[in-house]
Point group: C2
Chain length 137, copies 2
Amino acid sequence: PRGTAQEIEEGTTFSPKFDRDGLITAVTTDAKTGELLMVAWMNAEALARTVETGEAWYWSRSRNELWHKGETSGQVQTVIELRTDCDQDTVWLKVDVAGDGGCCHVGYRSCFYRRVPKGEPAKLEATGATKLHSHEH
Amino acid sequence: PRGTAQEIEEGTTFSPKFDRDGLITAVTTDAKTGELLMVAWMNAEALARTVETGEAWYWSRSRNELWHKGETSGQVQTVIELRTDCDQDTVWLKVDVAGDGGCCHVGYRSCFYRRVPKGEPAKLEATGATKLHSHEH
């Protein structure tokens, strides 16, 4: 048991809620600009390493493995602040990004480079974001 | 099938990926300040209503029902921009919040009012956020 709702929502103990796959949602923004960079998932080990080392670790659901972000790309994320939300089922990382400052394997700074126009449920349009590098396969 | 990786990542068709519960993660920020307000979930119906009406609809996992944010609190969220990410398994809403401008049922503007200190995996500390209203039960 993670404690009462009161303890979870207003207490000073971090008791993250992992889903039935053992994962928690992580939202990562640029500490300087506030831009939303990516949304990813962490298991308990990734979260523990992130808190301990001050660098972002995730759980890759596609590769099914621990993922030290930037290990191969150089886009290491230094955590400036780590927050959790009221029910402690998500975390928010404010990060400084090393390397070229990007985050998305497609080549953009942020993974969110397309918008859904209002009233157009099946359409995506470019936001004008430009690529920092070419697509990694 | 949602299409090839190329189509999903670089195409102009919105084909959101719902998880096995039929939900997609939604990250909501304040369109003016960029502040992260909340992370919630949408089913296909909530997403369709959000795109169509320009107001945020979610799926409440605790109440197991469609949730027109602000319907009872007055904290209606008008969507200024809706984005999706590279693999289209999350959406990002930039919103203007009506009412008192808040979002969290505990009383804060943002659900992220506590931080996890570096190297302290079991601790939460206040960020200095102040309550807009008292806790809703």
